[in-house]
């Protein structure tokens, strides 16, 4: 009888484990967005590939311009043939569908915003989600009399020569100091001062009586 009890318990335990595993598998919800590459690969991607393009390199046939500013700005003025996907909506289902369709048609996705820095967030997230062929249009958009003005900028301007500036200022200061020292001090004619000993009057003791 004892043997039977043991085997009964083992089988019950085994069945329960299998049930638990099955329930876990079924209730596992696939996350809507999964990264396609890990961080190191992402870092390599952004440092090796040149993803910056300027205005004159836009190729309408193979690229799609995506404006990542909000819809108000987009309505005010946008670049030709650009579609609007605000940054906050980049991971919604409909945006994912749109982006996927571009990916399938082998079209490069070119992001632009008010300035290149704005595009970094969506660029990084989309690259890590597996979208190859992403580019950033390095332009600055501003408005003049209700017209959109787009001009090319560099992603990062070259550093100013700070060391040179500091050395210059030190040099100038030195020159100023030398100049100040070299100024001939005005000659001071020393009039020999005569020392007149002050004779202190002795108070004669009062003589005589009152």
């Amino acid at each position: 009888m004892k043997e039977l009890e043991k085997t009964k318990r083992i089988s019950i335990a085994a069945v329960l484990t299998i049930l638990v595993v099955l329930i876990a598998l079924l209730s596992y919800k696939k996350p809507s967005h999964l990264y396609a590459i890990n961080s190191k690969a992402a870092l390599e991607k952004i440092t090796d590939i040149n993803y910056l393009i300027s205005q004159n390199e836009i190729d309408q046939r193979n690229q799609v311009l995506v404006d990542i500013r909000n819809s108000y700005e987009f309505d005010k003025g946008h670049m030709e043939h650009a579609i609007n996907i605000p940054v906050s909506d980049i991971l919604t289902d409909e945006s994912s569908d749109i982006l996927e369709s571009f990916k399938e048609n082998n079209k490069a996705i070119v992001l632009y915003g008010t300035n290149p820095t704005e595009t970094i967030a969506p660029f990084m997230v989309l690259t890590q989600l597996g979208y190859d062929n992403l580019k950033i249009l390095t332009v600055e958009n501003s408005y003049y009399q209700n017209n959109l003005i787009t001009k090319n900028v560099a992603a990062e301007n070259k550093a100013p020569d700070i060391n040179g500036f500091i050395q210059e200022s030190i040099k100038k200061t030195k020159e100023a100091m030398d100049k100040a020292k070299a100024v001939p001090k005005p000659k001071i004619t020393v009039t020999p001062k005569q020392i007149i000993p002050v004779k202190k009057k002795k108070k004669m003791p009062v003589e005589g009586g009152c």
Partner: protein, 227 residues
């Protein structure tokens, strides 16, 4: 008949159970595929990347450096050549492509120091920040404007024009003081002090031979005689 078949089947039950469990453990082999999915969720990453909380202004950073706040660690993500030419005081250089090297993980993946990433502007520093943020590193900031804005506000601040508010003049004088701390010398200051010194010198120059006149202290002689 059925009973017999059932009994036969049941005799193999342990074998069957064992094989089912082996198959399930085979599923564990699939898990390494999910290593690509390390880090915080894409939605969280996007919202973190969008928020401006990570920026620190050049004025605030200058303030911390001057007060020698020990908890701030500066990391320059530009190339080595840019770093050698000029960098913020006590900054270490981690070029962007080497950001995730094991040697540097110690600087980034910690919770004691406040790390400020900077580059010429904030494009590359932002990218570095987003990469680190996905891996869950805390206490990371980005210098807004980078070295370019550092130059225009701290090293070489703009003198406010006559029609600006008093606050701007105060800001200008704090910035000027900060620039002197970081090495900039102002020739106007030297001129002023040299002019001031000259008259003082003239005053003390002629050392007039002074004679010491002993002052005889008079003893008061008691009044003689009576009244």
């Amino acid at each position: 008949m059925v009973n017999r078949k059932l009994v036969k089947f049941l005799s193999f039950r342990y074998v069957i159970l064992a094989s089912v469990l082996i198959v399930l453990s085979g599923g564990l082999v699939l898990l390494p595929k999910y290593q690509k999915h390390e880090g915080i969720t894409p939605e969280a990453l996007l919202s973190n990347a969008n928020s401006p909380e990570r920026y620190i202004s050049t004025d605030e950073l200058a303030n911390r450096l001057i007060s020698q706040d020990p908890s701030y660690l500066l990391i320059d993500v530009r190339d080595e050549s840019d770093y050698k030419e000029y960098t913020l005081p006590n900054a270490i250089n981690i070029p962007l492509q080497n950001l995730l090297d094991e040697d540097y993980e110690f600087y980034l993946n910690q919770s004691q120091y406040n790390v400020v990433l900077f580059s010429n502007d904030n494009f590359y520093a932002d990218q570095a920040w987003i990469i680190c943020n996905r891996l869950g590193y805390k206490n990371l900031f980005v210098l807004k404007g980078g070295i370019n804005v550092w130059f225009n506000t701290i090293i070489n601040p703009n003198k406010p024009s006559e029609d600006m508010a008093a606050i701007d003049f105060d800001l200008y004088s704090t910035r000027k003081a900060a620039s002197m701390y970081f090495g900039v010398a102002y020739p106007e200051k030297i001129k002023k002090s040299s002019v001031k010194k000259a008259p003082a010198n003239i005053a003390s120059k002629p050392s007039v031979p002074k004679q010491v006149v002993p002052v005889k202290k008079k003893k008061k002689i008691p009044v003689e005689g009576g009244c």
